[in-house]
């Protein structure tokens, strides 16, 4: 079956919706925030985009530097 699982689509859509609700910003804005946070850190620390991940909970912005999956 070549059809993409609809759960994957639902989760991707939710990720965008939930983060923009939590941050009270447009989806594009948080992508830019992630990008700029990376640029700031890359100035001082040796990292690659693969080793960098930003996530948003209701009260915190989490920056992971290893990129390793938990």
């Amino acid at each position: 079956m070549a059809r993409r699982s609809s759960v994957r689509i639902a989760k991707d859509r939710l990720k965008v919706l939930v983060v923009s609700d939590r941050m009270k910003c447009k989806p594009e804005a948080y992508e830019r925030i992630s990008h700029e946070l990376y640029q700031v850190l890359a100035k001082y620390i040796e990292i690659t985009p693969e080793e960098f991940e930003v996530s948003y909970s209701r009260t915190h912005v989490h920056i992971r530097l290893t990129g390793e999956k938990q």
């Binding site: 939710l14 939590r22 209701r58």
Partner: protein, 263 residues
């Protein structure tokens, strides 16, 4: 001293009222003294789900406005010992009650009842503010759908902003056949997105509809959903209960097919 629990969801139609009715009945089956309050002013439902619509004399607004004593408005459920319903008003609008009045009422009720369950209206307007005003803890109900989960996330944010200490999650209407083929988010998927503790997952079960038709909570019926609700009630009282295997049905036929599938 009793505990005030608000049952809320943001989105309508996910099963708040059914959940309130079942948890109310289930806690009373655990020998707790319980009162369930319908806070949805103008759209009274909880009495109908409980099958108690013909016993209403007074309602929540009458109590708040002092038109009757609390005792006169309460409906005692004959099927469940120690379960009482305070119905909502069908004719008043949501401004008839204020958060301060609800807080006062629930704090008085805490002296008599072990659990005060508030069935919250959909939305995040005054009805929601009233329902959460006196709550010690919250149970957020959602279904595995994008819109319901999104609304649940906003509700959790609002509950946290109101400093509600304990917020638990119920995921309703899970269809394991769809989860298996990748067409419905699983319990883990939903819990991960909302990142609050799971207190129960309820399978999509025809018995719930049959129960609602009859005004009979599914918790006292032989069914998977009833079993899930019974476990939720025990968890609410603080007991550790392992989660149900939603894969297997309870009927003989589904048990048999389950055995064949295994082999």
């Amino acid at each position: 001293m009793g505990e005030v629990i608000v049952i809320t969801s943001g989105k309508g139609g996910v099963g708040k009222t059914t959940t309130t009715a079942n948890i109310g009945a289930g806690l009373s089956m655990l020998d707790k003294k319980v009162i369930i309050i319908d806070t949805d002013l103008g759209l009274r439902n909880l009495d109908v789900v409980m099958g108690l619509e013909n016993f209403i004399v007074y309602n929540l607004v009458d109590v708040i406005e002092g038109k009757c004593r609390l005792k006169q408005a309460l409906i005692r459920d004959k099927r469940y010992e120690n379960l009482y319903l305070l119905p909502s008003a069908q004719t008043k609008d949501k401004t008839a009650v204020s958060p301060g009045q609800m807080k006062k009422l629930t704090s008085e009720l805490k002296e008599t009842y072990d659990y005060i369950l508030l069935d919250c209206p959909a939305g995040i307007e005054q009805g929601f503010q009233n329902a959460i005003a006196g709550a010690d803890r919250a149970v957020v109900v959602t279904t595995p759908e994008v819109s319901a989960i999104r609304d649940a996330d906003r509700i959790v944010g609002l509950l946290e902003a109101e400093k509600i200490q304990k917020i638990d999650l119920i995921i309703n209407r899970i269809r394991m056949d769809m989860v298996r083929r990748g067409d419905m988010m699983s319990v883990d998927d939903v819990t991960e997105i909302l990142s609050i503790p799971l207190i129960g997952a309820i399978p999509d079960d025809e018995q719930v509809v049959i129960g609602t038709n009859q005004g009979e909570p599914v918790i006292s019926m032989e069914s998977k959903a009833g079993e899930a609700y019974r476990n939720i009630c025990r968890r609410i009282t603080g007991e550790e209960v392992s989660f149900l295997d939603l894969e297997s049905g309870t009927g003989i036929w589904s048990r048999l097919t389950h055995i064949f599938h295994k082999n």
